[in-house]
Amino acid sequence: MATDQALHGLDQLELGPAQPAADPGRIARKAWAAAWPKLLAIALVLAVWELVTLTGWKHYVLKGPAPVLSNLWSQLVHGQLWGIIGTTLQTAVVGYAIALLIGSVIGLLVARIPPLRAAVGSIITGLTTMPSVAWVPFAIVIFGESYQAILFVVILGAAPSIANGVITGVDYTPPLLLRAGKTMGLRGFALYRYLILPASLPAYVAGMKQGWAFAWRSLMAGEIVVPIVGQFSIGQALSVDQQNLDFTSTAAILIVILVIGVVVDTLFSKLDLTIRRRRGLLDPAATA
């Protein structure tokens, strides 16, 4: 049939030419394009650091990048740093997982039930602006100097951002999709399961990412202040180095904290990018 042929031809024309196959050279070029600005930035920071050391400012404590990096290296190779990192990451994962659960449930309930939103909606937003270190004394009063106190601070740091992500996602579900879903006969739970929740995913991931950043800060605040017998953590290591006025070790551990924060943040960014690519929310020209 002529119409069919014309239609099929039009489809092919509108889809454009097929994408060229990925070649390994292109992947390497992309990796290099992403890496060199970061490497340059690190080199600049190290250079400024070295220059400040050379001026002799606070020469009795301040050391250059070389001794700090070699301290970091020896702590990684010989010292207990891996164990310390393990302890801290374990607390981070447990605290974040609980925050994820609590934040998601509260976010859903608040998004779904108008009186609840009127009651606590603005409180949740307010909680995200609370400096996490302010919770530490409160946590110690309730739980004592314990693992629970640290978890409490981490959860209070992360959960409000995650809940806010859910609420934003539900609120920003496009009305057209809601209408389409309703004419399809999706109601109640099915409407949430198949339409509103998937539509909320990008905002949810953004909330998760912010929640992680707050969880990590809260964890450091908690660990520095709260010593736990038998659990030597990154925060405690910092605390001990501070008492010993050990610049090289303090700086080495700060680098560890920064690197972990950046790595996890990168994972969330990748997740966000994947979701947006699948939904056609990226400009193909900008990512080619």
């Binding site: 239609l7 489809d11 509108e14 057209l176 309703k182 006969g185 099915a190 198949y194 056609g280």
Partner: protein, 279 residues
Amino acid sequence: MSIVHRQATPPGTSPGAAAVGGTGAGPPGGAEQQVAVRLTGVSKRYGTGPRSVLALDQVSLTVGQGEFVCLIGASGCGKSTLLSLVAGLDSVTGGEVSVSGRVAMMFQEPGLLPWLTAAGNVELALRARKVSRPDRQRHTAELLKVVRLDGFGGKRPHELSGGMRQRVALARALAQGADVLLMDEPFGALDAMTRDLLHDELDRVCAEQTLTVLFVTHNVREAVRLGDRVIVLSSRPGRVIAEYQVPGEWSRGIDSPQTAKLAGTITERLREEMGRHGN
């Protein structure tokens, strides 16, 4: 076949028997033909008090089963409101809407879920009807074939062209097992060439599936090209002011002289109506 009534009081929907004796615009030979959609003195007012807006005023019309009716009017004639009332997305202020059978709706934007593939979007409509998994897959493949998109099921909406997305939306509407298809300017955002091809496609699909269609457009030629009947609505508030039968034996091309002549007459009538608001 289920018949759904939508009345002003009590608000909402209740099942019951078809209303008898509708007035106003109706299908030819009304008594013999089964009625799919009937509006009886339907009014719709948004808001309350002096600032409220009367969108539809005493609109009565009937659409016979298998009939293709186009609604046309200038801005503010309440075309989209009327479809929302028939779809049950909104409730009437006065009068009664009764629909027999399932209703599906298509919008100017395809409204596809961007995280699902073309096939996934069609399948979701089947899932909403609780169709079993193997049946869903088979039926989805069939429907994509009906809209000539077999082979594109794995594509996501953003990978398809505007015309293809609208065809996925059509397949999804068909997946809802609809007897009545409500279309709110579905081709309004497409280029003329694509629109022309989709008119032919829609003709074919409607004939194959024996669908009743209520089609809203502001394009007079499109209305004459597609409709068995064209109903003209006035603006602010929307009322039925004219009705044109399109003879079945006509050559229905968008550029045929017969189409052009009737479209000219209808455009004249619409201009008259718009001029009334200019004074």
